[in-house]
């Protein structure tokens, strides 16, 4: 491996942490350590500077008020945008996903986002709450995705990003696509944590961080995550 210690930053848990967001940090750390990679998890509060030297950046979901505050502080700090330019893996969930775009809607008005991903978000006709599933973009090689979504926003993708997945159940961005990716930046409405139910997505982020192909990561025993995936897909097919 290229790195001695993998530094995983979880941004602004004081503002953006709902629906088990901490789990994505735990899953990444677990899957890295299981392969003998040392991990330094870092929780960066919104009154702290974001380190430039981390290897993976995570940002979670939250309510309208904290989302607007977080976007403002991230714009002022600038480090997340520089990390994206430097090709560092970023995983953003829900409110964190929306604020990576050009604009998002909170507290009844539009706010400027970080413009890291070419997309914009507004309010949908109703809250999207429930299981979500989809076929991930084939280039990512992660197969079908499964998660739980809970958001009022809808997201419209621009030319410079691709959807993370084509929706087969649930709403995602707009009922047709879910999430977005460009370079090593991934945004998704799957919370809860998405990485526990999609270990290949976790491994993709790890592979990007250490500079290898995902196939080069030593395989793990994924009996339980695979069983969970099977159960969730089966529950969806039974309800449709």
């Amino acid at each position: 491996m290229a790195l001695s210690t993998l530094r995983i930053v979880w941004l602004y848990p004081d503002l953006l942490s709902t629906y088990g967001d901490r789990g994505n940090l735990l899953v990444l750390a677990h899957r890295a350590r299981a392969r003998g990679i040392d991990v330094e998890p870092m929780q960066i509060r919104s009154d702290q500077h974001i380190p430039h030297t981390a290897d993976i950046y995570l940002i979670g979901g939250g309510e309208d008020g904290p989302q607007a505050v977080a976007a403002d502080r991230l714009l002022q700090d600038g480090a997340l945008s520089r990390a994206a330019e430097a090709g560092k893996p970023i995983l953003a969930i829900c409110a964190g996903y929306q604020l990576l775009g050009a604009s998002f809607y909170a507290n009844g008005r539009a706010y400027e986002g970080l413009n890291i991903l070419d997309l914009r978000s507004d309010r949908g006709p109703s809250r999207a709450v429930g299981e979500i599933a989809g076929e991930a973009a084939p280039q990512l090689g992660i197969g079908p995705i499964t998660g739980f979504e809970n958001h009022g926003g809808r997201t419209h993708l621009g030319e410079a990003v691709q959807p993370l997945a084509r929706v087969t159940a649930g709403v995602g961005n707009d009922g047709a696509t879910e999430g977005a990716w460009a370079g090593h930046v991934i945004g998704t409405y799957m919370h809860g944590p998405g990485l526990a139910r999609n270990p290949k997505l976790a491994d993709l982020l790890l592979a990007w961080a250490v500079g290898v192909n995902p196939a080069q990561l030593p395989p793990l025993d994924d009996t339980w995550p695979e069983r969970l995936r099977h159960e969730r897909f089966a529950a969806l097919s039974a309800s449709q």
Binding site: D14, G20, G23, G130, F148, G192, P193, A196
Partner: protein, 414 residues
């Protein structure tokens, strides 16, 4: 009380009791909800009319309200008859039934669902309202927690009037909501879950914490000095004058000592001396099956209900070191369909002991425990879980419907 009821209200009360009795006879629960519904259709003001002239306390919060209601009832029974919704039917239908069933009770202790606090304040004109804590619970359908605190604040400002609020000084959301009231008695009831109050509910700035003290770095909202607290050493509550009241609780854990402190604070506002009230709390041995001890094939199970992250953390604080632990997780409608919150619970304290996982969503738990490096086995149901552990003590922690499933296996033990 009933002597002053209008003929219409008396008729509504009779129908309510009949409906509740029929529901019980046909095995559909204790009839509180259906009875209350029938009564309120006939007389929409029934709750208000039944509450009139009584001394009422409302008890609300995310966790501990059923137990605190039981403790408070036990304490108030020192001075009179008490009407209470002891079966956890904590919405207006349940409150109406509780009052209708106890027409002679001068006092009423009503556990109140967080979303109905305003309605109950208006309908029951309580003498005291006890506010325990607010934390994330069933997020896929309930109002988010800061919004709920804001709603409470608004409600209390509009309706608290002559009511005295007994509130948890350790929970910033509770302090913010209660601080609009004229009369507040603060209890250091603790906070096992701080993630929902990292930032100030009043202004959004950071909260600094120094030991148990907390303060907003911007607007000055801070922890009020508590009049009641749980003693640092031993099992006791310390009152406003520094006097120490020994407890001999049959329920485990620091959180139940805090619930006892709240109950004693409430009871003293009704004129019950804590010296008289404290020993009465020992009579509470289980609460609708919670903390109940049951036995099968030499396995002595203690049943713990934990519905949300704060509840699970509190249970892990209560369980004995050593014995095997059975964890059961469901995600049916009343539990919330979203199991994400299990990632907000730290399971590492279970490391090194025997852990058995069951419930509809046992696979979710299995993945969660694997991430925390906790060894576990997965079984189909509580019977299989019992067979999987050796004779001796066993701790069982389950969320709402999973708990009811376990309770059903033991004839709905109370």
């Amino acid at each position: 009380m009933s002597a002053n009821l209008t003929p219409r209200a008396k008729f509504a009360t009779t129908l309510l009791r009949t409906a509740a009795a029929l529901s019980r006879a046909t095995g559909r629960g204790d009839g509180s909800v259906i009875g209350g519904r029938v009564g309120l259709i006939v007389e929409p003001r029934l709750l208000e009319l039944l509450a009139e002239g009584r001394h009422v306390v409302l008890i609300s919060g995310t966790n501990g309200k059923t137990t605190t209601t039981r403790f408070t009832t036990a304490a108030l029974e020192a001075i009179g008859k008490v009407a209470t919704n002891s079966f956890g039917a904590n919405m207006p239908t349940g409150h109406t039934t509780a009052l209708a069933k106890a027409p002679k009770a001068e006092y009423a202790t009503l556990e109140c669902d967080e979303h109905y606090l305003g309605q109950l304040l208006d309908a029951a004109s309580p003498k005291v309202v006890a506010l325990l804590n607010l934390s994330r619970d069933q997020l896929d359908r309930a109002m988010e927690v800061t919004a709920l605190a804001a709603k409470w604040r608004q409600t209390l400002q509009a309706s608290a009037g002559q009511t005295t609020v007994v509130a948890n000084a350790d929970d910033p959301l509770i302090v913010w909501a209660a601080s609009v009231c004229q009369r507040v008695v603060w209890v250091a009831a603790g906070q096992s879950w701080t993630a929902d109050s990292a930032i100030c509910p009043n202004c959004g700035a950071h909260l600094d914490r120094f030991g148990e003290f907390w303060r907003c770095t911007n607007c000055g909202l801070n922890r009020p000095s508590p009049q009641w607290s749980v003693a640092q050493q031993g099992e006791a509550v310390v009152g406003p004058d520094g006097r120490r009241y020994d407890l001999n609780l049959q329920l485990p854990g620091r959180v139940n000592r805090a619930n006892a402190a709240t109950a004693l604070a409430v009871a003293s506002l009704f004129g019950v001396d804590p010296v008289q009230a404290a020993p009465r709390l020992s009579a509470v041995t289980s609460v609708a099956g919670r903390y109940a001890k049951v036995e099968r094939d030499g396995r002595h199970l203690r049943l713990l209900l934990a519905k949300n992250p704060a509840g699970w953390l509190e249970s892990f604080d209560m369980i004995e070191q050593g014995p095997p632990v059975v964890l059961s997780l469901n995600a049916r409608e009343v539990d919330g369909f979203d199991t994400s919150w299990i990632y907000d619970v730290d399971f590492t304290s279970l490391s090194g002991r025997k852990v058995v996982v069951t419930g509809d969503r046992r696979t979710d738990l299995a993945v969660r425990l694997e991430v925390d490096g906790v060894d576990f086995i997965v079984v189909d149901d509580i019977r299989a879980a019992i067979a999987a552990v050796p004779p001796g003590p066993v701790e069982v922690v389950a969320n709402y419907t999973a708990f009811q499933d376990v309770r059903a296996e033991f004839n709905r033990v109370n």
